[in-house]
């Protein structure tokens, strides 16, 4: 079973190739190829998972070496697939959620001109993402990392005829590139100091050679963190994600919610040994996560565009994952990554159904009363919202978020404050998502519904709604007396988190607090946006209310700040430097090359006697050197 592993990434790539080469002639068949390849890949992933769980390989690690790319002077980056319980979870999430979103796209994108191009990019994305999570060495991981970045760029700018989509794509690419550069430098640093790129060997080597808390692991961890911040849209590199919503909605669901943006979380979890040895950086991860989750939850509260609400929500939820990573709760981060993939994909797909139902309307204030007109979308969206708001007991989000908050509480460093930030974020989360639910689905209808979702949209919605409920039951808090299956499954990968002497009663208490907070959020949203919207409108009309609203709406002014502090000076510099001195060197080289080109061309006279003379002259020079320079 396990030997089938290579097929899992290979199939989406094959689909991409087929679509890229023959897609234009396929017509509607393109969807079958695109969806089928990912579907088969998901089946093989399930088969591999069954094999992995029923008869675990030694040490719960299975590696498949496909070939060595190059082998020179001890530098031997292999095309090596590495499967352990962490990558297995990621593979399942990517292929299963990916398949559902492909199925959804088959209907969603049907009327689009670029139907086959869309599926080609999507298949390439799934393939690259699988390479990223299965890579056995950092070079291959980086290949996948750049591959998903490229696909993200291509898909954000999918409707390239509108210039603002192109601008959003470029922004996403450039901002993540800052992080990617840090990661590349991190790779060089690690290879230089540890002499290998193989992740496992690297981790062992780091533990042997480096002292915990010394400069080396801190630098390495900081550089890796830089890459993760860019990819996962965390402070201060979060500005690209809201704009990335310019892409088609399935893209937002797959790339900018469920999979690619969580790659940073995966990367840090994968290199957890280094982060454990770098306490300062690890604490920074927690602080960044806490700050990001609060800031973007506040921004989500005031957005008008349904997809931007979800985009800020994604940034905020990844903030929770970073918080978990920062306090060493590795499996809690991955657990939340998984449940978040389910419910956020669901929310995006539901939003997509609403948007296409209203003929491309994004503004939530022009929606309303859709509960009766689009019941399936409503119930599924509501499920996702409940899971995101972590309503107690029945939703997946409750268990994963609860575990993160509990781990934050236990953290030795600033535990209470991190927990407090998380719980405040939970309140905001609950408010902003139910604000969305109440405005969009309740109240009076404002826009006519032109299109009802068909079966290929309904099936993925229902399947994801199901997963958003049951996905949490794999890991229950201790006081339920049920085994925490998920954390145990990941135990072979992660070190056991430092267990503070805390009792199940503490956990029960904390879970109760977060349950109350999330229910309170629902009530607040109900009160301000459905029962008595005049209060919220009044609040927004006061001067400080308006200023704060505007400030949050613009994402805390980060775009403005970067525009003033970085982009404008850079543009100014580029303009001022149009005929710069540095360029003169290259112009000189070009001019010299041209000069020598014309000079040498004169020698090509076409006359044999001249050629023979040069031959003889060359012989004389050769003999002279050979004899005289001895």
């Amino acid at each position: 079973m396990l030997s089938l592993l290579w097929l899992v990434p290979a199939l989406p790539f094959a689909g991409f190739l087929a679509l890229a080469l023959f897609g234009r002639r396929m017509g509607a068949f393109a969807a079958a190829v695109g969806t089928g390849s990912v579907g088969l890949s998901a089946l093989f992933a399930l088969a591999v998972a069954a094999g992995f769980i029923s008869s675990p390989p030694p040490a719960r690690i299975y590696t498949q070496s496909l070939w060595d790319w190059i082998n020179v002077g001890g530098f031997k980056p292999g095309i090596l697939l590495y499967l352990d319980s962490l990558s297995l979870v990621m593979v399942l999430v990517v292929t299963v959620v990916g398949f559902l979103i492909h199925l959804y796209s088959a209907e969603f994108m049907e009327a689009d001109d670029g139907y086959s191009r869309f599926f080609a990019y999507m298949n390439l994305f799934v393939g690259s993402m699988l390479v990223l999570v299965l890579a056995g060495n950092l070079l291959l991981l980086y290949l996948g990392w750049e591959g998903v970045g490229l696909c993200s760029y291509l898909l954000i700018g999918f409707w390239y005829r509108q210039p603002e989509n192109g601008a959003a794509a470029i922004k996403a690419f450039v901002v993540t590139r800052i992080g990617d550069t840090a990661l590349a430098i991190g790779l060089f640093f690690l290879f230089l100091n540890l002499g290998t790129l193989d992740i496992q060997k690297m981790m062992n080597m780091a533990a042997l050679r480096w002292q915990a808390g010394s400069a080396y692991p801190e630098i390495a961890a900081a550089l890796i963190l830089g890459g993760a911040l860019g990819k996962s849209a965390q402070l201060p590199l979060q500005t690209w994600l809201p704009d990335a919503m310019a892409g088609p909605t399935p893209v937002s669901a797959l790339i900018h919610a469920a999979t690619m943006v969580t790659a940073g979380v995966y990367l840090i979890a994968r290199t957890n040994v280094i982060f454990t040895m770098a306490p300062a950086v690890q604490f920074a991860v927690a602080v960044i996560g806490a700050a990001t989750l609060l800031l973007s939850a506040a921004s989500a509260l005031v957005q008008h565009d349904i997809k931007r609400v979800l985009a800020y929500s994604t940034i905020s939820q990844i903030g929770y994952m970073f918080l978990a990573l920062g306090v060493g709760a590795w499996s809690a981060a991955i657990f939340h990554l998984m449940t978040h993939a389910f419910f956020k994909a669901l929310l995006f797909l539901g939003a997509g159904a609403v948007i296409s139902g209203l003929d491309g309307e994004h503004d939530i204030f022009k929606m309303g009363g859709l509960r009766r007109q689009m019941p399936v979308a409503f119930w599924c969206f509501l499920t996702g919202a409940c899971s995101l708001a972590a309503l107690p007991l029945v939703t997946a989000g409750f268990y994963s978020k609860g575990l993160i908050l509990f781990s934050a509480w236990q953290s030795r460093r600033a535990g209470f404050w991190l927990w407090a930030a998380g719980i405040a974020g939970a309140l905001l989360t609950s408010i902003y998502i139910f604000r969305l639910v109440f405005i969009v689905f309740f109240g009076k209808p404002k826009t006519a519904v032109v299109k009802k979702p068909g079966p290929r949209i309904v099936i993925p919605l229902v399947a994801l709604a199901f997963l958003s409920i049951v996905g949490g039951f794999v890991n229950m808090p201790a006081f339920f007396g049920v085994k925490d299956v998920f954390s145990r499954f990941l135990e072979s990968v992660f070190p056991v988190p430092p267990q503070a002497a805390s009792l199940p009663e503490t956990e029960l208490l904390l879970e109760t607090v977060s349950a109350i907070v999330s229910l309170a959020g629902v009530y607040v949203a109900y009160f301000f946006f459905l029962a008595a919207p005049e209060y919220s409108e009044e609040m927004a009309r006061t001067a400080p209310g308006r200023a704060l609203g505007k400030f949050w709406f613009s994402g805390w002014g980060f775009d403005w700040l970067y525009e003033k502090a970085l982009v404008s000076p850079y543009r100014w510099f580029a303009r001022a430097n149009r005929n710069d001195a540095v360029d003169l060197i290259y112009s000189f080289i070009a001019a010299a090359s041209r000069f020598f080109h014309y000079g040498l061309s004169l020698s090509q006279t076409g006359k044999v006697r001249f050629y023979a003379a040069v031959l003889a002259l060359g012989a004389v020079i050769t003999i002279t050197i050979a004899v005289l320079a001895r």
Partner: protein, 482 residues
């Protein structure tokens, strides 16, 4: 000679018999299809005999020849490349108003000469192989005898090659005069005895280097290359660029691995000068060139300069780098000239770069193939050319040839300019008002030609992402040089 000797010699016997077979076949049935089919079949049989012969290698057969894995590897390369040239020639000759069948006899003779070269261990076999190759080439270059340019190219090649052969023979004679032997192994022993002392010996070796240099078309012995490539039919240019140079380079490496060039500092210096001069001359001359065949000719001059860098390295990577680079260079050059060949019409070859403008919209497949070949020649990753260049640089760095490597890097940058220039031309739209009427042939690509180009492209990418099988094959050939 014993039985096993004959068996080891089988590929050489077969490839020498093939011209005779084809010639006799023509005498009775003059038919283009038959001649081409016999040629292709014969080359396949020759290729198939290689693994068989390998089981008897290594083996000295008479003082003249040595059949080892190294020789067999290069024979395989020669047979494969000749096969590709024959496929291209079939459709190319189809449109010429000449007697077509004798072309294949000459082609097979040239392949036989090249095979003798890569297996030779003696000045006599060296010179015989070289002349068999050269004489066939004179005729091949001027084969379309109604074209003035072809005749001109043939005569230029004949005259200049004769001059260079004179240098080579004189060098050989001087070596024989001092050491009394013409066997490479004997020369190596003798050279160890009188090393450093004798200017006459160094001068003799320098003359031999001149002879090699002419055939490899490294600066300053390169002058003939663009004229000959331009005048010759495109498939023959492909043959001159690949088989002829590859075989000579294989022998060059074998000879100077025996007669260790690193013992003769002044010759290393001379080779360094030649290498740098070739890189710059080739790349600078190609820079703004408008004739596609001349661009490829200059490019090949530069590539041979890169190969000399690997040649001057020492250690285990040297042969790997040279052989890998040659394979990638063979594929890319065959593909590039193949494209020129399938685009050529009856009136003349498709040489004008302007005619290639906007090709991508009319012939996407051909454009893709040509771009892939040019990317490989430029050394862009995911193509064989990148891996080849990587090995050359790795070999050079392993031997601390920093000057040569830095020159190679500078020249790679210059090279990218004109390779990309061709690609941009193909992908840019024609100017307004310009008609689509061009000098390029508009006929469909023949099935054989199309398959060949597809296979070459596939091989190019395959070697670029999965080089290890070829590398391990090459590493089996290394002992032959010790």
């Amino acid at each position: 000679m014993s039985g096993p000797d004959f068996l080891a010699l089988l590929p050489l016997v077969l490839v020498s018999a093939m011209p005779v077979v084809v010639m006799l076949a023509i005498a009775f049935f003059r038919d283009h299809v038959l001649a081409a089919a016999l040629t292709l079949l014969g080359l396949l049989v020759c290729f198939a005999s290689l693994p068989f012969a390998a089981s008897y290698a290594p083996r000295h057969i008479t003082p003249l020849l040595i059949i080892d894995n190294y020789a067999l590897f290069y024979m395989g390369l020669i047979f494969a490349a000749t096969f590709a040239v024959a496929v291209l020639s079939y459709s190319y000759l189809g449109m010429l108003r000449v007697r077509r069948e004798e072309f294949y006899v000459l082609l097979l003779l040239a392949a036989a000469g090249s095979s003798v070269l890569v297996a030779s261990a003696h000045f006599a076999s060296f010179f015989l192989g070289l002349e068999t190759l050269s004489v066939s080439l004179y005729a091949l270059v001027s084969y379309p005898s109604s074209r003035e340019k072809a005749i001109e190219a043939g005569v230029k090649y004949l005259v200049l090659a004769a001059v260079s052969s004179a240098f080579l023979l004189f060098g050989m004679a001087l070596v024989y005069g001092q050491l009394g032997t013409m066997e490479f192994s004997g020369i190596a022993e003798g050279a160890a005895g009188l090393r450093a002392a004798s200017p006459a010996f160094l001068g003799a070796i320098a003359l031999i280097v001149v002879g090699f240099g002419f055939k490899l078309a490294v600066a300053p012995f390169h002058m003939w290359t663009p004229d000959v490539y331009e005048g010759a039919p495109a498939p023959v240019s492909a043959f001159v660029a690949t088989v002829s140079k590859g075989a000579v380079f294989a022998l060059f490496l074998r000879y100077f691995a025996r007669v260790d060039i690193h013992q003769m500092g002044s010759l290393v210096l001379a080779a360094t000068v030649i290498s740098i001069a070739s890189m710059f001359t080739g790349n600078l001359l190609a820079l703004l060139q408008q004739n596609v065949k001349r661009i490829l000719a200059y490019s090949s001059i530069a590539h041979l300069g890169y190969l000399v860098v690997a040649f001057l390295a020492s250690g285990a990577l040297r042969v790997t780098a040279v052989s890998y680079y040659l394979v990638s260079y063979f594929i890319a050059m065959l593909g590039a000239f193949g494209v020129v060949s399938v685009l050529s019409g009856r009136e003349g070859d498709a040489v004008d770069l302007d005619a290639y403008r906007g090709l991508s919209s009319r012939r996407p497949f051909i454009t893709g193939v040509f771009s892939a070949m040019l990317f490989s020649l430029a050394g862009i990753p995911l193509t064989a050319g990148f891996i080849g260049k990587f090995y050359v640089i790795a070999a050079g760095a392993g031997s601390a040839l920093w000057l040569l490597i830095s020159m190679l890097v500078v020249n790679s940058a210059i090279g990218v300019y004109y390779y990309i220039r061709v690609i941009i031309t193909m992908y840019s739209a024609r100017a307004e008002g310009e008609t689509a009427e061009t000098a390029l042939s508009k006929g469909a690509v023949s099935l054989g030609g199309g398959l060949l180009l597809a296979a070459l492209t596939l091989g190019l990418v395959w070697l670029g992402v999965y080089p290890s099988p070829l590398v391990s094959l090459i590493q089996k050939t290394i002992q032959g040089l010790r």
